[in-house]
């Protein structure tokens, strides 16, 4: 037997299965790994095409706005900080601060989306969107670059939207004391998800905005 860190879970005689926070976080991490592999697949595609079309990728990336990208990076990193602060606050039994930090996280997330919206609409108004005339007439490498750009930032954006919804629910739970200083694994898991969204962006940002 090799169970050195085995944790014997006490079984209760009746009713539901025993609460297991470590297990809950383990489940969340496993889910995050699936996300990692999902984006990993896209990064793989990106890698292959960047290898095949490196010139065109550099050229196409000129169209992207580094300023907006940097701003969004800062926004997202800060939201990651606030959600972590929110957990610490709750652990210190400061519900008020926890609520404030969590709300701030949601605000930052929305700010990110607003930014993204302006960025995308600018591209669209320049006629660069999947299937557009302008794009089809560009070189293959550029078509692929923008295809990937829209797909990867789009799916990342989708995760942000899901994150906002998730965090909002958590916020309600927190306010209604469904999440408390001794039962806050839901908040932790939402936080983990949110950090993952941030992690993905940490890689998306240099790969799309910083290759001119």
């Amino acid at each position: 037997m090799s169970n050195n860190h085995e944790i014997v879970v006490p079984t209760e005689t009746h009713g539901h299965v025993h609460r297991d926070d470590v297990g809950a976080r383990m489940g969340m991490w496993l889910f995050l790994f699936t996300e990692l592999l999902l984006f990993g697949g896209m990064f793989l595609i990106y890698g292959v095409y960047r290898f095949q079309y490196s010139e065109e990728f550099h050229f196409a990336a000129m169209e992207l706005n580094t300023g907006i990208g940097t701003l969004n990076t800062i926004v997202l990193l800060t939201s990651s900080l606030t959600v972590a602060l929110s957990i610490s606050a709750l652990q210190k039994k400061n519900k008020f601060l926890s609520v404030v930090f969590l709300s701030l996280t949601i605000v930052f997330a929305l700010a990110f989306m607003v930014n993204k919206f302006f960025e995308w609409s600018a591209k669209f108004s320049h006629g660069i969107y999947p299937g557009s005339e302008d794009l089809i007439n560009k070189s293959n490498g550029e078509v692929v670059f923008f295809g990937l750009y829209y797909v990867m930032t789009g799916i990342h954006g989708l995760h942000i939207v899901i994150g906002v919804i998730l965090l909002s629910f958590i916020l309600v739970f927190l306010i209604r004391d469904k999440i408390t200083p001794d039962n806050f694994v839901k908040l932790e898991n939402a936080g983990l998800y949110w950090h993952l969204v941030d992690l993905i962006w940490i890689f998306l940002f240099p790969l799309f905005y910083l290759i001119q």
Partner: protein, 99 residues
């Protein structure tokens, strides 16, 4: 919940200070990576950018995501996942870099 090692066992609280310091570090790294991208380093640009991104994610995973204070098995899991991803990348490039 009777045994010593139950739910609230990870009572580790990361202090506000630590979190803010990590955040500052992340912002600092971001400005470095943006600046470096401005200078033309040729081949090394990608390398530097990815290195910085890796450092940033290590900070997020360890401190923000608390993995440093979790059961060691979590780290094993993370390693396995990262290794899988690495394998997929390497083997795919066995095709594309020899075309």
């Amino acid at each position: 919940m009777q045994d010593g090692h139950s739910n609230e066992e990870h009572s580790h609280v990361t202090s506000y200070g630590t979190l803010v310091i990590i955040w500052l570090a992340l912002l600092g790294l971001t400005s470095i990576t943006v600046t470096v991208a401005g200078i033309s380093l040729g081949m090394y640009t990608l390398f530097v950018a990815m290195f910085i991104a890796a450092v940033k994610s290590a900070l997020v995973i360890n401190i923000f995501m608390h993995i440093k204070f979790e059961d060691p098995i979590f780290k094993v899991f993370l390693l396995v996942s990262a290794l899988t991803l690495l394998v997929i990348f390497v083997l795919t490039f066995v095709d594309f870099s020899f075309r």
